[in-house]
Amino acid sequence: MIWLTWRQFRVQFLVVASVLAAAAVVLAVTGPGLLDDYHRLADDFIANLGFERLNPVLYNAGQVLLYAVPPVIGAFWGAPLIARELETGTHRLVWSQSVSRWRWLATKVGFTGLAAIGITALLSLAVTWWSDPIDDAINAGQQSNSYLPRMFPPVFGARGLVPIGYAAFAFALGVAIGLVVRRTVVALAITLAAVILVQVLTPTLIRPHLMAPTETYLTVSLDNIRGFMLTGDGNPPTVKQIEVASGSVGAWKLSDRTVDKAGNTVGTLPSWVIGCEPGPPNQTAAERPEAAACFQRMADEGYRQHIKYFDADRFWALQWREFGLFLLLALGLTGFSFWRIRRDLS
């Protein structure tokens, strides 16, 4: 049965595996140089990356590849696995050999699924290891416009365990959809769309609920102010929201709301708050006395920012939870497939 599974799967496997193997080799070759730069340049490491050509490209390519692998695996490995058999009627050939449907499905799903998990794990390991100096430098507080802390959604989903969970989920989803839809191309399209949708929605809809965030209250100051959201065509306009820095380097901020003295969220701030509008960066209080006075008035009247965030230290805890969640979903979908295969399919 393993022979047949491999015989049917080898082309798809070799296509994906050769791309990923090539990527892993490139990362393995360039990684030591990057790590060396990290130790040599210390605090100038990130700034220096801006003058390099290859490494920034590799950084982004690795990230893109890790996001692309789960939908590709789901659509091209998962969806056709059963759908193609049902579409061409070959399930009737293979089920009339001396092998039960369950053993047949278990071998196909087990073999292909483990390949999907293994190959994604390999790529994720390579990318995570390669990017580690950059992630470290960012988390240590080196400033950058191009690189985000690894806790931020775009990076988080391309590091560590999360891509593996996505790949397992995408594969199981593809198999289940193929089994229900029974048309290879339709199943492939639905799986592709569904997996991408899940990848897009997870950071906003699911990830914030996986752990209790750290909560804190901060008074707004010239040092931590990051932005105003303005509304209205009045001159001056009114301030809807204020954004401040969380104060925790590398943390992912989930919410940032202004509350008044009583602790209630403020929808629109008083009109005088416009005076606190941030000016050019890196100004001191002495250079902008009117802004400093405005911030002082906010503090006096009891306005504070209520901030929720995941700090950088909880990266792996959050990774494990998201990985576990998607692995559970994958197991559930596989269970569904085993239930469905027992029903009439001819």
Binding site: W3, R7, L93, S96, Q97, S98, D344, S346
Partner: protein, 293 residues
Amino acid sequence: MTPVLQARGLGKKYGRRWALTDCDLEVPAGHVVGLVGPNGAGKSTLLNLSVGMLTPSAGSVEVLGGPPGAQQAKVGYVAQDAPTYARLSVADHLKLGAKLNPGWDHAVARRIQRLGLDPKQKAGKLSGGQRAQLALTLGLAKRPDLLILDEPVAALDPLARREFLQDLMEAVAEQELSVVLSSHLVSDVERSCDFVIVLVDSRVQVSGEIDTLLATHFRLTGPRRAAKDLPGDQHVVTESHTDVQSTFLIRTEKPILDPAWTVTQLTLEDLVLAYMASSVPAQPERPVLEVQR
């Protein structure tokens, strides 16, 4: 001896439509059974139920004395249109059979060479006849006690049809297995089978050994008479009347004594057609059995 196939009140429903109703059958071992009926009569449904591809909506079916699917190694099945993996070669298919069947017989599998199939040829490039032969080889080489073939020759031209059935009969003689094959052509059954099941409108109309059926069915022609006036042991299958003459097709185990009748023997085709005609009024849109020689 356990019957190879036994159905009791067997029925299968697709949505709200019954594809097979109230099917009672008993097929003894050692026969080549022909399952005939028009397209859409439920032949495939009955065979799919027998091999466990489908589960019954009503009643039960037993194969070789057990539930379908329980003795997968002992039941060979060649599905309709002889499905094969288009991208695998003939040799790959034989390897597949050898890997997935504990009782695989390499000697039987070598018939592929006798048939002149190139082992390196991809199954997708085979002709309909060659594909059917490949599927039959897979079914035979697992050495089943019962081989079920669903419309094995439907896609073949008359010559390939004859050759396929001849090969099948040779294999049956060598391996001593029971065979159930379905066809919508009586001629296929006449050529190869010794037991027939006539399935029309999702019901079994008649089943039995062909010799016995032919020995107990007659056409009576004579002066006009009503069906109810016939003796109680003569069951009317079909009747037709003109002003002065009646023709009955009857089943009886007793000799026909009435000297008024001209008694004619039936061919298998007459018999099958009669059973199909007898159910036609119920569903007139059904296609009538094709006759092909």
